[in-house]
Amino acid sequence: MPSPAVIEQFPHAHAARSELLLEGVSLECIRNDAVLFSGVSFALAPGEILHVSGPNGSGKTSLLRILCGLGLPERGEVRWRGAEIRSVFVDFVSRVQYVGHSDGISLDLTCAENLEFACALAAADPGRPLGEALDEAGLGHCSSVSARRLSAGQRRRLALARLLLIPADCWLLDEPFTALDPDGHALVNGFVRRHAAGGGTAVISSHEPVEAGGVPIRELVL
């Protein structure tokens, strides 16, 4: 954290800081006694996307877990609008949607019930009707089908439908393209483009490039 004196010296620095949504400051992660990564820093303003890539085991999932507050970094901190996330945790998680490595879907619930539950946990009211989000994710015909009967790709789509339903400023997507068909890829890219155009930000870990039209994409290679 810069001291207040520094901020007074450079008033613009302060203004610029408050515009940033998500920042990682020299993050280091240790898993099972091995350093996965260290000195990872980035800053995302509204409308910017961070694409995280790297070989298997390089810590992409760990980084995303740290960014959403599930994991603790060994060193460094994650900031939301300039404040350490744990100091503004309720505010932070109200504005963030995380789609993790596992989909977060209960197999014994139907698609609609899964989304209803996601809405019950969310801070904001759903921005649109549930059926519309399912339609757009390509699951319009499955609304009352048990999630157990969906394929892996369809489950992924259901997890991503949460993003469409619940308004959030920041998306943290861990391997969103896994198990998706080419049509699904295009779908996710489209979601991300629209999200960024609306002033949102996202961190996406993936082996594949994110193609989101004219949206600025920063690359981070672990």
Binding site: I30, N32, D33, A34, V35
Partner: protein
């Protein structure tokens, strides 16, 4: 509190501090053990009811005290580690557990040894012995959880929650067992709490108790240091230290 903990709670600082302190505690403990045992075995009189067998209380009572004290210390250290994320506290809690379990076991074993000549049986479901047995289970559970979780930081924080829950439960367990034993056995002989203890027995007992505490302090410091080294084996200070030791 926070800044204090972080200044003196840095692994590096603690490592050097404990390396200086541990031998002093160990030495003092050895001296007091010698003095206490001399007082307990030679100077103090045999009990008019229990005869020479009474001398086992000089080991039994301090280890029973220690078993409870170590649990409280362990839970407190775990709580500090959990709330303020102090690594030293985590390592300290983890290092204390086997010692506490050993004290508990010693209290049980000496109680049992004492029971054979006094009660004519190795085990009596006396309230204190039973509480002590459950305390041993709590220690063993804590250690089992610590070993089951691979990541040490996760293990430390999970262990802290378990120790704190156990701490809340210990008074309730003790009270319930006490209630149970009065219900089932009627008032029993209270061998370890004679109405008034004579000075010739009290002094060696206290000396032994302090010797036990110092022993715990010395050993827990050494063990904490080992835990810290293992925990921090990737950090610069640990590597420098290893290089330093190797050069010596």
């Amino acid at each position: 509190m926070f800044t204090f903990l972080h200044k003196y709670g840095s692994p590096q600082h603690f490592y050097r501090l404990s390396r200086g302190l541990a031998p002093w505690f160990g030495g003092a403990s050895a001296l007091l053990f010698a003095a206490g045992l001399y007082g307990a075995l030679l100077l103090s009189p045999p009990d008019y009811q229990q005869g020479e067998g009474v001398r086992i209380i000089y080991v039994h009572v301090p280890s029973a005290w220690m078993s409870l004290m170590v649990y409280v210390i362990m839970a407190a250290a775990g709580g500090v580690g959990l709330i303020w994320k102090v690594k030293v506290a985590d390592a300290f809690a983890r290092a204390s557990a086997p010692l506490g379990a050993a004290f508990t076991f010693l209290a049980l074993a000496t109680g049992s040894l004492w029971g054979k000549p006094m009660w004519g049986t190795w085990w009596v479901w006396d309230a204190r012995l039973t509480s002590e047995l459950i305390l041993l289970f709590l220690y063993l559970g804590y250690m089992a959880l610590q070993t089951a979780i691979e990541d040490r930081r996760t293990a430390a924080r999970a262990g802290a929650v378990l120790a704190l829950v156990g701490l809340v439960n210990i008074p309730i367990i003790h009270f319930s067992v006490l209630w149970w034993s009065t219900l089932h056995q009627g008032p029993t002989l209270r061998p370890f709490a004679p109405p008034a203890i004579h000075m010739s027995m009290l002094v060696p007992l206290m000396v032994m108790a302090v010797a036990f505490m110092l022993y715990f302090a010395a050993v827990v410091l050494v063990r904490t240091r080992n835990e810290l080294l293992e925990l921090e084996r990737n950090s610069n200070w640990a590597r420098e230290l290893a290089a330093e030791e190797a050069a010596r």
